[in-house]
Amino acid sequence: MNLFSLLNRRVRGFRILELIGAGFLTALVLTVYLAKTGAGDKRDDIDRVQQQIEEETAQIRLLRAEVAAEERPERLEALAGQYLGLQPVSAKHEIEPEALADVAQLSRPAEAKPATAAVAAATPQVPPERAPVAKATHVSIGAASTASVSTLQAAAYVVRQSGAPVGAASSRAVAAHAAGQGEH
């Protein structure tokens, strides 16, 4: 039996060649259909994602514009002045770190005055005791010693660190404000 006669043989009235052709054609149609459908679905997915990206991009642009409007320098300046009393740092509140010691020295009173006899008499005689070891870094201005006051006064001057002249402006002014040296 040669190949021609095999292909010419009939099965249920159809030549095998016809059946093979029909099967191939059906498979081809199905494949094309599935491929097209799959591609269409993917295209839809891409369109959907693209649309989301566009919507998000538009929202981001809108938000960026709103942020820019909220961060207008004149608005921030007005708010900082109104609520925090901040102003540009003046020359009197800016100093090199090396000069801090000199400032502290200049701010220290020349010599502590002796207590008057009346005050001494009114003061309860408490035996001297060892000073507690400091645990917290916070310094109360009211309880500050002479040296502490000098330190705070020194802190009122802005310590200019290299590379941070701008960003530290607020903290400088706050430091100056806390020490009563801020400009109003």
Partner: protein, 584 residues
């Protein structure tokens, strides 16, 4: 029962039905052939193929109907990024200056509406900006018409909620300037079609259009510098009740404009409702008689040409009489002055004598190289051409030596002074951000030695006891500068009460020639004297303090460190500098 028949009963019912159908068709074929009815056999085959195709087309029709009725991607356009938009504008640090946002245009078709009274009643309630005349014209129109544009999504939703028949929307692009009036004149604005009309929007229109989908276009300005400059200009102009004002900050080496302000301020978001006069960028589009700030150019010319040095003596004790005019000094009591005092006393007679010493040819050559005889070379299309005398006769030469008989734009003054103060290279100003490694190539106008001398002279004018620029000094920033107070010509007559007062400054003046250095110019148009200024409205009393404030605020932003200050000054010192004299 054959195994094949048994297998038939094991398959699913649907497939079994198909197989039975095939068997029946096959059986019909066999029977037709057995009965010798070949034509019937062919007819049946054709019918089978026809049915198959019909089934295929029915499937396709169902799929097409499904795709049409239930789309998988919704067409949402409300917030889609606008097409054909312009690129964002940002400052040199990436801060947003201008951005395109989706807007909507409203259209109305009278043919689709049967109750125009309802439209007339409801639409103005949600669109108060809609002119009544335009609404009436639209209501009685014959076809679909454009009503109003530039609606935000919220405004569009309010109109949409009215449910008015015949009202429809179309997407448009709207240019928004989130900073409002900050930098308004320099940034400029666009028309409804998205084309630049002024400022950077106009100057860089092609670049902005071509970069729409490539990223933002950075400008040279620093928003922090711009805001400080504009704020101080506004304060000074308000304090002295000036009718106009100009502020410019530039990098003298690169020519980048870090800040440019014009008073009155202008908000590009409200361009349509702004008076045209307020939209003029006086920094570029207006020419002024500059007054004594021009002595910087005259002295630079004299020193560079070898005609004089800072100790050369000039007789100023009597007015200089020339054909057609007599030149006086405002600083009384001077007799013979060295050149540096001609500068610090702002002696018109001394400057005029130096100008005459140079002569018209030399002055023409130098002033032309300083860019004073042409529009300032900048991207800004508004850059105005100067008003220059046709012939440089002795009277003109003497007058121009101290800033009269010539009118130039502040932009041109800034460009020329940059060339004198940066080591001697004339570099055009730019509103584009330059690459940090780029050093613009210019042409030499004066020697480096002359540039150094002029920096020292300007510093002297601020530090010397009787210098006219004392009020601009800022401790630690080595400020130098020159005052200017030009009397305005009104109707062909000089009005001594109306001045254009200015202060041109540079900081820091110390350090090597290639050190970072910045130029600051404040110019006030017709400032009025106050009690604090003892009746003076000159540059030394009005513009110089404003320049000092600007420098104190912007120095940290541009990275200029304050030099160490004497501790004695820190503790209780630092009193405000007292100006001696008229401050011209």
């Amino acid at each position: 029962m054959r195994p094949a028949d048994l297998a038939l009963y094991r398959v699913p019912p649907a497939l079994r039905w198909v197989l039975r159908l095939i068997w029946h068709i096959e059986h019909d074929f066999e029977r037709a052939r057995a009965e010798g009815r070949a034509a019937e056999d062919a007819r049946r085959r054709i019918r089978f193929v026809l049915l198959t195709f019909c089934a295929g087309f029915i499937v396709l029709a169902v799929c097409a109907a499904r795709a049409a009725l239930f789309p998988s991607v919704e067409r949402v356009t409300a917030l889609a990024a606008p097409d054909g938009a312009r690129a964002d504008l940002v400052d040199r640090n990436g801060q947003l200056l201008a951005v395109d946002l989706p807007h909507f245009g409203v259209y109305f078709n009278p043919a689709e509406n049967w109750d125009i009274d309802e439209v007339r009643r409801k639409l103005p309630a949600v669109l108060p900006q809609l002119p009544a005349a335009r609404l009436e014209r639209m209501l009685h129109g014959a076809r679909r018409q454009y009503v109003i544009g530039g609606l935000t999504p919220e405004e569009k939703a309010r109109v949409d909620d009215l449910g008015l028949p015949g009202v429809s929307f179309e997407n448009e692009v709207g240019r928004v300037y989130p900073l409002g009036a900050t930098g308004g004149h320099l940034i400029g604005f666009v028309d409804r079609g998205g084309s630049g009309l002024s400022g950077a929007e106009f100057a860089l229109n092609d670049t902005i259009m071509n970069n729409a989908d490539k990223g933002a276009v950075p400008l040279s300005i620093d928003l922090r510098v711009q805001a400080a400059l504009q704020d101080e200009l506004q304060n000074a102009a308000t304090k002295f009740n000036a009718i106009g004002g100009v502020g410019i900050v530039t990098n003298v080496h690169t020519g980048e404009i870090l800040g440019m302000a014009s008073f009155p301020a202008f908000d590009p978001n409200n361009a349509a409702s702004t008076p045209p006069a307020n939209m003029v960028n006086h920094a570029a589009a207006t020419v002024y008689e500059p007054g004594s700030v021009f002595k910087v150019f005259t002295l630079a010319m004299g020193i560079d040409a070898g005609l004089a040095n800072i100790n050369s003596m000039y007789d100023v004790h009597t007015p200089l009489v020339l054909p057609g005019r007599t030149i006086h000094d405002y600083h009384k009591g001077d007799t013979v002055l060295p050149l540096y005092k001609v500068f610090t006393h702002s002696s018109n007679i001394g400057a005029a004598r130096l100008g005459l010493q140079a002569g018209p040819e030399r002055m023409d050559k130098y002033f032309r190289s300083f860019g004073l005889f042409a529009a300032a070379p900048s991207e800004l299309k508004e850059s105005a051409r100067p008003l220059v005398q046709r012939q440089l006769n002795p009277g003109t030469v003497a007058s121009m030596s101290f800033g009269e008989a010539i009118a130039v734009s502040p932009l041109a003054i800034a460009t020329g002074m940059n060339g004198i103060l940066n080591g001697g290279e004339y570099v055009p100003l730019t509103i584009r951000k330059l690459d940090p490694n780029t050093v613009p190539q210019g042409h030499r106008v004066v020697s480096e030695a002359t540039s150094r001398t002029m920096l020292d002279l300007m510093r002297l004018n601020v530090t010397q006891e009787d210098g006219s620029g004392k009020k601009a000094d800022v401790p630690g920033y080595s400020v130098g500068g020159k005052t200017g107070s030009a009397e305005k010509s009104i109707g062909g007559r000089i009005d001594r009460k109306r001045l254009v007062s200015s202060f041109a400054a540079v900081f820091p003046t110390d350090g090597p020639m290639n050190a970072d250095r910045y130029f600051v110019l404040i110019m006030l148009d017709e400032p009025k004297a106050t009690k604090d200024t003892f009746g003076f409205a000159t540059g030394g009393w009005t513009a110089a303090p404003a320049v000092g404030h600007v420098i104190e605020r912007i120095a940290p932003y541009v990275g200029v460190k304050r030099a160490p200050i004497d501790l004695a000054t820190l503790n209780g010192g630092g009193a405000a500098a007292k100006l001696v004299g008229s401050g011209r």
